[in-house]
């Protein structure tokens, strides 16, 4: 039987539902930082029940200079315990020597940043012994570079030997805030590199689109996810809710809808 493609991000509020192994959940994504201070036995248990993806938030691959040693050590411990299909991080920076901004910020698509992110991604993969996927972020700030974002991502995959985690909501939000066509953007992307999707509803506030991870998936995002399902050799599609986390029944319905989109 074909394995379910869709799954959820592991959140404490969903732990009981996830532990009951509902048929709708085909895979699970755990956030590495959530387990830095926790018993990894719980993680090994999740790994027995589901194919896992380990998702990082704080490695700050786009920061020039060495990776933060303590963060990399903790991330590698979580990856070792989870034994995931892939470990993942963002094409972004979260901190510099001066300040930890705590969340994701863009790096300009330049050759210098390509080298920095690729070197860091290779270091993470060498350390963890696990293939890595890099994720596109949403940003209100569009930075000028020396190549289109899609070319940057294509070349990054080649340079680092990694794949892509394509966040559908981030792509949609950026396309609306910066006025471009999401499907045309996808045409520039080598979708053979995309192995995982993130999907969550966008939020509209103050005249802008936001990736607040707080809304049900809208129809246009299902459509965009479906386009990627047709184009990319996906291993997992994760519903990534962090706020207003709904009852399991609502999430299960979203997972079933994603499977229906996948089935065409």
């Amino acid at each position: 039987m074909r394995r379910q493609l869709a799954g959820v991000g592991y959140r404490r509020e969903l732990a009981r539902w996830i532990a009951s192994r509902p048929a709708e959940i085909g895979c699970l994504e755990i956030t590495a930082e959530h387990f830095f201070d926790r018993d990894l036995g719980e993680l090994r248990g999740l790994g027995r029940d589901y194919p896992l993806f380990v998702h990082g938030l704080g490695l700050s691959l786009g920061t020039p200079g060495p990776l933060d040693r303590a963060t990399l050590d903790a991330y590698a411990r979580v990856v070792a315990a989870a034994d995931p299909l892939y470990c993942t991080e963002h094409v972004a920076f979260t901190r510099t020597q001066d300040v930890d901004l705590g969340h994701l910020n863009p790096v300009a698509p330049t050759l210098e940043n390509l080298r920095i992110v690729a070197d860091h991604a290779r270091e993470v993969m060498d350390r963890c012994g696990t293939p890595m996927l890099l994720e596109n972020i949403a940003s209100h700030l569009l930075l000028k570079g020396t190549m289109p974002e899609t070319e940057f991502l294509n070349r990054l995959c080649d340079a680092a030997g990694c794949g892509l985690l394509l966040d559908v909501a981030n792509l949609y939000v950026n396309s609306r805030n910066h006025g471009y066509d999401a499907l045309a953007w996808l045409d520039g992307l080598e979708t053979k590199n995309v192995a995982q999707l993130h999907v969550v509803g966008y939020t509209r506030r103050d005249g802008r689109w936001h990736d607040a991870h707080a809304e049900p998936i809208q129809r246009e995002l299902y459509d965009l996810a479906g386009e990627l399902m047709r184009r990319a050799p996906l291993r997992g599609v994760i519903v990534e809710r962090d706020a207003n986390i709904p009852e399991p029944g609502e999430l299960a319905a979203e997972l079933r809808e994603l499977e229906a989109v996948h089935a065409g």
Binding site: P64, V99, D100, L101, L141, L142, H210
Partner: protein
């Protein structure tokens, strides 16, 4: 050698004063930051401001998850007060959200503003090394309302657990 673009961008995102200076005189700011003037002239101030606002929103959201009763008690004042706190401090590391929320608690205490003591106790316990802690509080959430209670905090398998023994009648 000028500061790298990521370092400059981070400083701008963390400092509303620098962003205001960028709008007034990017060349002067480039000299102040030892940055490439072309880089600063190429930045979209409204996008930069929106990105900075998003960082603040995300911090506020994370703090709210750890201090829901405190935030509810502050009502509409919660976000402006958090903004005052957040402009002065950028915690770092993977425990930054908890440290941010704990620092916001200190900010409220220093100003004698409403906060939920039992919630702050739990947060501080989580950030500390102790395995168990007992204390009397007036605002343990029992039966849907704050009540005086003996608050017991302890760790099990790395996770913080709490019990409240209600002392009322």
């Amino acid at each position: 050698m000028p500061a790298d673009a990521t370092t400059v961008l981070a400083r701008l995102l963390a400092d509303a004063g620098l962003r205001a200076e960028l709008r007034r005189d990017p060349d002067a700011l480039a000299r102040t930051l030892d940055a490439d003037p072309e880089l600063l002239r190429g930045l979209d101030p409204s996008g930069l401001e929106a990105q900075a606002e998003t960082l603040l929103e995300k911090r506020f959201h994370e703090a709210g998850k750890l201090l829901p009763l405190t935030m509810a008690g502050l009502g509409d004042d919660a976000k402006p007060l958090f903004r005052q706190h957040a402009d002065r401090l950028w915690p770092h590391g993977h425990r930054r959200h908890a440290e941010d929320a704990a620092a916001f608690g200190r900010f409220l205490e220093e100003r004698r503003l409403p906060r939920c003591r039992s919630e702050l106790n739990r947060l501080r316990f989580a950030l500390g090394p102790r395995r168990i802690s007992l204390g009397l509080v007036r605002d343990a959430w029992v039966g849907g309302r704050p009540r005086p209670a003996l608050q017991i905090l302890y760790r099990r398998r790395g996770a913080v657990r709490s019990l409240a023994l209600y002392l009322g009648f």
